[in-house]
Amino acid sequence: MVTGGTKYDAIVIGAGHNGLVAAARLARTHGRVLVLEAGDRLGGAAATSEIVPDYRAPAVAHLLEGFPRRIERELKLARHGLRYAARDVPTVALDRDGDHIALPRNRREYAAFSKRLPKDAEAYRERVALLRAQADLIAPLLGELPPRHDDPGSLKRFLRRAVLRAEWQGRSALRKLMQTLPESIGDRLDAEFESPLLKGVLAFDATLGGGEGPYAPGTSFRAVWREAIRMQGQGVRQPVGGMGALADALAAAVEAQQGEIRLGARAVRILVENDAVAGVELSDGAVLHAPLVVSALNPRVTMLGLLGAARLETEAALELRFAAPAGSTAKINLALESTPVFSGLAPELHGARLVIAPSLHELDEAAAECRDGGFASEPVMEILVPSLADASLAPEGHHILSIIVHNVPFDVEGGWEAKRETFVQKVVRTVDAYAPGTADAMIAGEILTPPDIERKYGLAGGDWHQGDLRLDRLFGFRPSPAFGRYEAPVPGLYLCGAGSHPGGGVTGLPGWLAVEAIGAAKGGER
C-alpha cells in the first residue's frame, strides 16, 4: 500500500451519469473533486460505443426520458456541449401487418389514432389522463430526499403532501391510487382496451427493465412510476452523438469546476479511519485521501465489497446481502449498410421508439420463458434508429439499429456461450419480419446479454435499474432501509447510483439528491 497519496475534498466512484452529476454538483460546493472510473470510458451504461469504426451506437440506454431541466440548467450542460438530435420522440407499436399504432402526443395525432382505433381512443384518453394524474401525485416526491426512517414526522409530512394533492384532484383520486398500487397492468388493460397491440405496447412500457410479466401484481404502479420519472424530464429526447454526449457534457461540467476524472482507476477498498471515511484504495495500491466518498456503484458492491460487511452493523449488512438484482434486458446494436424500412410505417416515424410487443399474451409468454431460463422465439423489444435523427453516428446512407430486448434471463439454460448466436438470430429474424431486408443489410453488430452488461458496465446482475422498481424498494427503502437516505452508517460515505432513490433510468436524480443529502448532513439538518 502506498501511503501519503494525494488529498481531495471528495472522491466519486464510478463515472456513470449519476456519478458525474454528483461530481459536477459537488465540485461547485465541496472543493476538489476526483472521479474514479474503472473502465476506459465515461458514462457507464449511458455511453456511446463503436460497433465497428465509424458506426457509433448508444451502448446500453438510448433515450433520455427523465433528465430534469434543473440539472441541465444548473450544470450548464448546453454550454458544455449537450445538444439534442430529437425532442419528444414518439412511440410506435409495430404491427405485423403494417397497421402500426403511433401513440398520440397531440390533438392532430389523436385524430389519426382514433381513426385507427375507434373503440379504444376514448379509453386511451382516459387512461393517459389517469396515469398523468396519478404520476402527478408522486412526481414531486421523486425530486426530493426521501423521508427519514427514524423520524415519524418526516414520513407523515412526506405522505401528507401526496394525500393533499390527491384530495385536491378529487374524491376518487386517492381511491384509484390505492387500487393501482397492487394491481397488475395486464388486468387493467384487459378491462379498458380491445386492441391487443395497444395493450402490448402499454404493458411493455410498464414492465420493461423488470423480470415480471404483465399480469404480475404491482406492474400497474410501475406504469405510474415511469410516467412520474418522465415528468422529471422534458419529454423523450435523443442527444446528438448518442448517450455518450450526455456523459461528455457532464464531464466537461466537472472539469470546468476544476474537478478531475481518472479513467482506468478501479477502487478496491474504501478506507476508514477513526470511524469515518478516509479515502479510497485503488487496484494498483495507490491510496487517495478524501473525507467524503460518494459511490455510484451498486449499493451491495459498495457496502459489502468496497467497504466490507465488517464495517457495518450486522443488520445493515444483512439488508443488502439478499438484495442481489437480476437484469432481464439485453441490448443489441446493429450496423446497417442501408436505411431500414419498416413496412407500412410513415417515413417521419422511422426515428420513433418502435416497440414490438404484439399482445399481452406474448409479453406474458416471454416473461414466463425468461423465468425458466429461456427467451421467446419472437422476443419483445424496443427499436430505435438513432442515426436517422443524428447522422454523425454512421456513414452517410448507413444506419444504426439500437435494440433493447425485454425478458432476457441472466442465466440462460445451456449457457450464453452456446445460446448467443441463436438469440441474435431470433432477434434479427423478428426485426426482419417488420423491416424486410434488415438481415441482408447487416454488416456488423454487437450483443450485450445481461451477463455482458454486468461485466462490461459493472451493473450487478446486468440490471439497468440496480434493483427492482418495486413499491418495497422505493423512496427510503431503496436500496434498503438502513441506506435509504444515501448516507452509509459510516460518516462521509454516500451512495449516489441508480440503486438509490429515485432509481433507474437516465435521470441524474440519484446523483443530484445524494449531494443534497450531503449538504443536509453538513448543515446539521435532519
Binding site: D275, L304, G308, A309, A310, R311, L312, E313, T314, E315, A316, A317, L318, R321, A482, P489
Partner: protein
C-alpha cells in the same frame, strides 16, 4: 503347476483401501457403501440429557427434574435447604452442561467479537474470561454471556440462550469459524467457600493462585480439565470444562474427594437461588432477547438490566453503538432490580404495584436464607423503583385455599449475597 491352477491367494474379507482400484469395474464392492442410512433431521430430538445425566440420576433422592435449554437436569437432588447449606458453608457441585457454548476461531475472531459485543475485549488475555453483552442495531440486549479466550485466535462464548443465527449473520465479511460446541463439553460448577480446597484435595496444584475470571488447563484424576474461576453464586467458585466423556469421572472424583469436606451435589433450583441472591439476571427469565420480545417495551437496553454494563463507546464499531451513544445519558424507562419482600412464608407472586397502578412484574423469586427474606428480581418502571412504597400481589396457600395478599416490597441497593471472597487473591482454601 501351471499359473491357471496355482492356488489363489485368500481374498481379505475387508479389502485394504489402498488396494481398491477405482478404474476396475469388476472389483468387489463394499455393500455397506450402498446401504440406505436413515437421515436424522437436525434438532429431531428436543429432549436432551447432559453427559452427566447418569451420575446425577444416581445422586437424586427426590426424582425432581426440570427442563433447562431443552436438557433434562435435576431440579433438586436431596433437598434445597441441604444443598444451600453446602453451597454457603462448604461447596456444592452442579451440572451446568446445558449452557450454550460457541467456539469462535479464526484470524478475524477478535475483530468479529469486537463488533459483536459491547465491551472492549482488546485487553482480554489468553486464559481469561469477561462478561459480555450482545446488542442488536437498536441497542437492545440480545443476550449476555462469558467470553473465554482459549488461545490467540480462539474464543469460547458461553451464553444462556442460543445465538447461532445471529453469530452466523454477523460473520459476513470476517474470516471466522463459528461452532456450537455445547454437546461436546461437559460443564461442572463447583461453588462455595471450600471449593478451592476441594480442588486441592482432588489433586489440582496451586489452585489458590488462580485469579477471578482466569482459567487454566489442569489434570483431575488423569483427565484434562479447563478450570476457570467463574460462576454465578456470589461467592468463591469454579467451573470445570471437560470432554463430555470425561465429565462423569470428574464429577465422581470431586464428590469422592469433597464428600468428607461437606460437598454436596445440587440441582438447578440451587443454581437459580444462588444467582438470585447474587442479583444476576438470566436471559429468557429476567429479561427477553430483543428478538424474542413481542411487546417492544420488553426489549431492554443494557443499562436497564445491569447497574454498570460494560459498554465501550470508543472502541470502534459494534452492534448497537449508534443508538447506545445517542442514548448514553438518558436513564432507561424500565429497569431490572433486586427486591426484598416482607413476610417469611414462601410466596408466589407476579405483579408489582405503586399506588394501585401496576408498574412491573417479578421475574425470579425465592427465599433467601442469607437475607432471611423473600427476594426477587423484577422488571419495573424506573421512576417507581425510585419512589419506593411498592406492593407485591402475593398468593398465600393454606391447605387447599388460596389467599391473595399485598406485601410491601423494598428495592435492594446491593445483592443479597456478594462475598468479598469471590475476588480474593489468593483464593482462600479455608472459609
Amino acid at each position: 503347476m501351471t499359473p491357471d491352477t496355482a492356488p489363489q491367494k485368500e481374498e481379505p474379507v475387508e479389502p485394504n483401501r489402498k488396494d481398491i482400484d477405482p478404474q476396475d469395474e469388476q472389483a468387489a464392492v463394499d455393500p455397506a457403501l450402498f446401504e440406505e442410512k436413515p437421515i436424522a433431521p437436525p434438532f429431531e430430538r428436543t429432549v436432551l440429557t447432559t453427559p452427566l445425566h447418569l451420575v446425577t440420576s444416581l445422586e437424586s433422592r427426590t426424582n425432581r427434574w426440570t427442563d433447562w435449554n431443552g436438557y433434562t437436569v435435576p431440579e433438586v437432588l436431596t433437598g434445597l435447604g441441604d444443598e444451600y447449606r453446602a453451597l454457603r458453608g462448604a461447596a456444592a457441585l452442579m451440572d451446568v452442561s446445558p449452557l450454550v457454548k460457541y467456539r469462535i476461531a479464526g484470524r478475524d475472531a477478535f475483530a468479529f467479537l469486537q463488533r459483536l459485543v459491547t465491551r472492549d475485549i482488546e485487553n482480554l488475555g489468553v486464559h481469561r474470561a469477561v462478561h459480555v453483552i450482545l446488542c442488536e442495531s437498536r441497542g437492545l440486549v440480545l443476550g449476555d454471556g462469558l467470553l473465554f479466550r482459549l488461545a490467540d485466535d480462539d474464543y469460547r462464548l458461553v451464553t444462556e440462550e442460543t445465538h447461532l443465527a445471529w453469530l452466523m449473520d454477523s460473520s459476513e465479511g470476517f474470516r471466522v469459524r463459528i461452532e456450537d460446541v455445547s454437546a461436546t463439553l461437559g460443564t461442572l460448577s463447583l461453588q462455595g467457600p471450600l471449593s478451592a480446597f476441594v480442588l486441592m484435595q482432588a489433586g489440582v496444584g496451586d489452585v489458590a493462585s488462580l485469579a477471578p475470571f482466569a482459567a487454566r488447563w489442569v489434570t483431575i484424576a488423569g483427565m484434562p480439565v479447563y478450570l476457570s474461576r467463574t460462576g454465578a453464586s456470589g461467592d468463591l467458585g469454579y467451573e470445570l470444562w471437560s470432554d463430555a466423556e470425561d465429565a462423569p469421572h470428574v464429577w465422581r472424583w470431586l464428590v469422592e474427594c469433597g464428600g468428607p469436606l461437606g460437598l454436596r451435589a445440587a440441582g438447578f433450583a440451587l443454581r437459580e437461588l444462588a444467582r438470585l441472591e447474587a442479583g444476576l439476571p438470566r436471559a429468557g427469565q429476567d429479561y427477553l432477547s430483543a428478538f424474542a420480545a413481542i411487546d417492544a417495551r420488553e426489549a431492554l437496553p443494557p443499562a436497564a438490566i445491569w447497574a454498570s454494563p460494560a459498554i465501550d463507546l470508543d472502541k470502534g464499531l459494534f452492534n448497537g453503538r449508534a443508538v447506545l451513544r445517542r442514548g448514553s445519558d438518558e436513564p432507561p424507562a424500565r429497569r431490572v432490580v433486586s427486591l426484598a419482600i416482607e413476610g417469611l412464608e414462601p410466596l408466589r407472586f407476579s405483579t408489582l404495584s405503586l399506588e394501585g397502578r401496576v408498574v412491573g412484574a417479578a421475574t425470579s423469586t425465592g427465599f433467601s436464607p442469607a437475607l432471611g427474606a423473600n427476594i426477587a428480581l423484577a422488571v419495573i418502571d424506573a421512576e417507581a423503583a425510585a419512589a419506593g412504597a411498592l406492593l407485591a400481589a402475593a398468593e398465600r396457600r393454606d391447605g387447599l385455599s388460596v389467599r391473595e395478599t399485598l406485601a410491601s416490597v423494598r428495592v435492594l441497593a446491593k445483592p443479597a449475597r456478594a462475598h468479598a471472597r469471590r475476588f480474593a487473591v489468593p483464593a482462600p482454601l479455608r472459609p
